[in-house]
């Protein structure tokens, strides 16, 4: 079995008295798509945000391609650019064009020249079907287009892992498809992904593994077919039935 891209061990995180992650173990293999589900407040977002230490875990280990991110000496900025992150609210920079959003980190983190960065940026926008929107500001784009720009921004840095936190939850239903299509094409290109989402159809057809979280712990995991039809745990069954309707 190949070495995991991401290997999370015994990860704990509390907000004051509230323990949100109670010792999470999660391993993601190369090119795997892990689909993370669970009720609201179960700690899914917190888990994703701990993976690149946007949220500081209390204890545990996070290895990205064998490099321990919890080490004091770890170059966190170098690690973060290898972990693409896509947010529910897009979080595009409203004062920059779509192309500017994509090229900022290419220039400032990877040190590319403006010309080189724009070339890469245009290719990334083309990949998400928005080559013609390069000069638009986020305010001039639909939600679905904004989220695709956000994906392009993350993908352009050639991450080894991408984290999606409810990428389609803020979208009108008719715009969800365009974002899922981009995610599907990423998957086909071999991207390793962890996706928090309620799009169960997408989970069924694209996920390698479904992980069910509740109350800050992983309750059960397995291939989508098994999880949707014969989950072992009654709470998993109840949740997947409820949401799958």
């Amino acid at each position: 079995m190949p070495a995991p891209i991401l290997d999370v061990r015994a990860l704990r995180k509390s907000f004051g008295p509230l323990e949100v992650l109670k010792g999470i173990d999660l391993s993601v293999r190369p090119q795997e798509l892990v689909f993370l589900v669970g009720p609201s407040g179960s700690g899914k977002s917190t888990l994703l945000r701990c993976c690149n230490r946007l949220e500081e875990p209390d204890s545990g280990s996070i290895r990205l391609e064998g490099v321990e991110l919890m080490d004091r000496a770890c170059d966190l900025n170098a690690a973060r650019r290898r972990i693409g992150m896509v947010f529910q609210g897009f979080n595009l920079y409203p004062h920059m064009t779509a192309l500017g959003n994509v090229t900022l980190a290419l220039r400032k983190v990877l040190g590319k020249s403006r010309r080189e960065a724009e070339e890469i940026g245009r290719a990334a926008l083309d990949r998400v079907g928005l080559a013609d929107k390069a000069a638009c500001h986020p305010g001039e784009l639909s939600g679905g287009q904004q989220q695709r720009v956000a994906i392009a921004r993350a993908v352009s840095l050639e991450p080894t892992l991408m984290l999606f936190d409810e990428p389609t939850s803020a979208l009108d239903p008719e715009l969800v498809g365009s974002v899922l299509a981009v995610m599907r094409s990423l998957r086909e290109a071999g991207m390793t992904m962890v996706v928090v989402s309620h799009e169960m159809r997408f989970a069924r057809e694209a996920a390698d593994r479904v992980v069910f979280m509740e109350g800050g712990a992983i309750v059960e995991e397995g291939p989508p077919a098994a999880m949707f039809t014969e989950a072992q745990h009654p709470r998993t069954r109840a949740f997947l039935q409820e949401i799958g309707r």
């Binding site: 945000r49 973060r80 992150m85 947010f87 979080n91």
Partner: protein
Amino acid sequence: MDALLQQFFNLDVMAQAWPLVLKGLGMTALLCLAVIPLGLGGGLLVALASLSGSRALRWSVRVFADLFRALPPLVLLILIYSGLPFAGIRLSPFAAVCLAFLLNASSFYGEIYRAGIESVGRGQWEAARSTGLTAGQAFGYVILPQAVRNVLPDLVSNTVEVVKLTSLASVVSFTELLYAADMARSVTYNASPIVLAALIYLAILWPVVRLTSRLEHRIAA
């Protein structure tokens, strides 16, 4: 009516006073060129410190900024110019005026920047850091431009206040616009130089005040 014109709008007197008033205007400009950029820079430091992770720094800066916003600038100026010599520190009028107005301006600018920075959502910071930008880069390229845009009318309004503030320098005999005009008045026994100074202030600041209204309109839209 004629007497009124003679006393307030006497063109001959204005022409006579013009060289002196112009010099004063030059000094006012010099003062603005010192206090406004330094105040904008100092204000940014005040804002950063008042949002810093260190409790001690955060609170001490907030207390000082509140102090300098509450203290009437004239009181601060006289404290520095006439009070400090009792502690053996004697500043030139220019230095005293710069220091007093700088403390005042940075505190007000600082509060404005802080509101601006807080108006930018946390998600912007997270998106920027998630791509590997350092804290400084995220602040400089992502947060600050949006923060400034959100509070631009307030920054411009406060700059108008700073320009007006410079007229207080006249009380420590610093020859800025108002002081020069008042000197000309006392030599000519005529109020026209003062009117001239007032017109100059208006000519400079009126367009800026209009601009702030338009900016506010645009942001509200």
